[in-house]
């Protein structure tokens, strides 16, 4: 294994992390099905029914396994596979072939599977074409039961990198996790159940990899899930480099496993809500994986930035509903559109501004272009039926703004009631990110359920320092006493009105300040998903009575 034999491939990473180990090329148990004449179709069909019952039972237990490991949304596929096995048309086809051709059940299942897979393969959209894999998967399962062979088991002593052409969802979930370092597939898409399962399971994985599986079985490989690279027979230099990268990552994982499921509680018993900040539905798995207690800041901008038109109510509703359902009862705070001249979309037609930080942005756009705002509010109120959503309004500077928001919300609710559309009753709060909001926080607190302090903007507006300008670095103090006193003031004013307070800016993740924040009485900290566990560790070391 020398430098000259190293090969580098690229694929699309569906989950980060580094895996180093032997490559095991996974071959499907493609049982060669032979067409055999039979004498007694009834007996053959009885054999088929027994196999089907066994296959359904297997799917039930896979469903339970997946439910525990990856949650209801991802487990649903196994329920759908059960329905497919019990589908009237599928079974009629099998029966028809067995009876009319007087052939064995294996052959009937294989032909039926091929025909149904073909139907999907010929469909127009990508998603439906991929469902051909589901049909093949259930047919394979039936065949394995009929032939009495086990599938999916990987017979190796040491953990390996699984390389395969493609992996069916049932194959991924059956893999013995202790034996799997990673998987690399030639096909597959980010939409595939396998990719979603991989993300939720936290296994580094690459799909759509440009690798040839011939002759790589048993060779040493490295999967770099951060860069989307797959190395076969790496040289010593790369191996060393990757081992170091892996160690850093492993340290994070160890922290994770030792702190996962633990409470965010100080030594003297003060509990704190520790939530995650995210900017896309794609980050939901990180929220769950890092054991966040909720979402403290979900930036809704991506919906607008990734679109070439104003996102419709339905488009937004689907996203918010997914968030609410995935969080399954945990709070998810969604911040309404916070866009401005620095983060803009062409279709908004915003003019260039001399000073975008102090310009037409956030709530100012929403209160001017109320139709855009109402579309988002309608989607949010409707999606609230499906979980514990909360709504947060950015860039507030006055009580009048909140009153205006309440009026608009009342109109939205009236319209929804009028059209008999179900909607929930989400908590509503505001961002405290302007010195003005800090000064009048006592009055603002009377109007809302919660505050979330956006320390990045608050610091910038308080110190009059642009963080993007490196020449100002020597003047900048992230822990400036002015900012810290403002936070203390906000908490005091809010608590007097029974309003709870979180911090969702970068300072929230600054473990040098965690103790100070807790002493101030901050109720919630919302940080990037990868900071959840480090902050939890810090919280658990603090003794506020000491």
């Amino acid at each position: 294994m020398g430098a000259d034999s190293m090969k580098t491939y690229s694929g699309k990473s569906v989950y980060g992390g580094i895996a180093i180990g032997r490559i095991h090329v996974y071959k499907k148990n493609e049982s060669l099905v032979r067409r055999e004449k039979i004498d007694d179709p009834d007996a053959e069909l009885e054999r088929y029914e027994r196999a089907k019952a066994e296959a359904v039972a297997q799917l039930k237990s896979l469903y339970d396994k997946a439910l525990k490991e990856v949650g209801e949304v991802n487990a649903a596929i196994f329920e759908i596979h059960q329905m497919m096995l019990e589908d009237g048309d599928y079974n009629e086809s099998v029966e028809h072939i067995v009876r009319t051709q007087q052939v064995n059940a294996e052959y009937a299942v294989a032909s039926t599977g091929d025909n149904f897979a073909m139907m999907f393969a010929e469909m127009e959209d990508d998603y439906m074409r991929e469902r051909a894999a589901d049909v093949k998967d259930i047919s394979e399962r039936l065949l394995n039961v009929l032939c009495g062979s086990a599938s999916g088991a990987v017979q190796t002593e040491e953990p390996v990198i699984i390389a395969a052409d493609d992996l069916a969802p049932s194959e991924t979930v059956q893999l013995d996790k202790d034996k799997i370092l990673s998987f690399v597939t030639v096909h597959g898409s980010t939409n595939s159940h396998t990719a979603i399962l991989a993300r939720t399971m936290g296994i580094p994985a690459l799909i759509g990899t440009d690798v040839s599986l011939d002759g790589i079985d048993g060779k040493l490989g490295i999967v770099d899930g951060m860069e989307g690279r797959f190395y076969v027979e790496p040289d010593e230099e790369l191996l060393g480099q990757m081992r170091r990268k892996q160690q850093t990552e492993l340290a994070q994982r160890e922290l994770l496993s030792s702190l996962k499921g633990k409470e965010n509680v100080t030594l003297d018993g003060r509990k704190v809500m520790l939530y995650a900040n995210i900017g896309n539905v794609k980050d939901m798995s990180k929220v769950l994986h890092n054991d966040a207690g909720g979402i403290g800041l979900f930036r809704s901008e991506f919906l607008y930035l990734e679109s070439d038109h104003f996102p419709t109510e339905e488009e937004q509703f689907q996203v918010y509903k997914t968030v609410a359902e995935t969080m399954a009862g945990k709070r998810a705070i969604i911040r309404t559109l916070d866009i401005g001249a620095d983060k803009k979309c062409d279709y908004f037609g915003l003019e260039a501004e001399e000073n975008p930080a102090l310009g037409y942005r956030g709530i100012r756009i929403c209160l001017t272009q109320t139709d855009v705002f109402k579309t988002q509010l309608r989607a949010l109120f409707r999606a609230s039926v499906f979980g514990k959503l909360a709504i947060m309004y950015p860039m507030i500077i006055s009580v009048e703004e909140i009153r205006r928001i309440h009026e608009i919300v009342a109109e939205v609710k009236a319209e929804l009631t009028e059209s008999k559309t179900p909607f929930g009753d989400p908590e509503q709060g505001i961002m405290i990110e302007t010195p003005a909001a800090v000064m009048i926080s006592g009055e603002l607190a009377k109007e809302v359920d919660f505050f979330s302090i956006g320390t990045n903007d608050l610091t910038q507006y308080t110190l009059a320092i642009d963080r993007q300008n490196p020449r100002l670095d020597s003047f900048y103090d992230a822990h400036h006493p002015a900012v810290l006193r403002m936070i203390a003031m906000v908490v005091e004013n809010a608590h007097r009105e029974g309003t709870w307070v979180g911090i969702c800016g970068e300072l929230g993740a600054d473990t040098e300040l965690t103790e100070e924040f807790l002493r101030m009485g901050v109720d919630e900290l919302s940080v990037s998903p990868n900071y959840i566990l480090p902050v939890r560790r810090r919280i658990r070391e603090i003794n506020l009575e000491a």
């Binding site: 596929i77 759908i80 329905m83 048309d89 999907f120 469909m123």
Partner: protein, 85 residues
């Protein structure tokens, strides 16, 4: 017989998960439940047929429900479509 039309708003159309849920719901009624699109018709109690319609966003699907419990079935199915698709 009851009938209603629905235009799909979900980006992915009647994909696996909602199709599964729709089949589950349709099976709770004794009535016959059919969905039709562009001249193709599918039995809503059969998942392959339903997915085979390939109903996508912005396409109209026509549901016909015939049987004893058609009234309640129609109402429940219409609500399901509105909330999920």
């Amino acid at each position: 017989m009851r009938e209603f039309r629905y235009v799909i708003t979900d980006n992915e159309g009647i994909h696996a998960r909602p199709a599964g849920e729709l089949v589950k719901l349709a099976k709770t009624f004794t009535s016959e439940v059919k969905a039709a699109k562009d001249g193709k018709e599918a039995d809503c109690k059969k998942i392959f047929a339903l997915m085979g319609l390939g109903a996508k966003k912005d396409q109209e699907v026509c549901f016909t429900i015939t049987g004893e419990d058609e009234e309640t079935a129609c109402e429940a199915l219409e609500r399901f479509m509105r909330e999920n698709l």
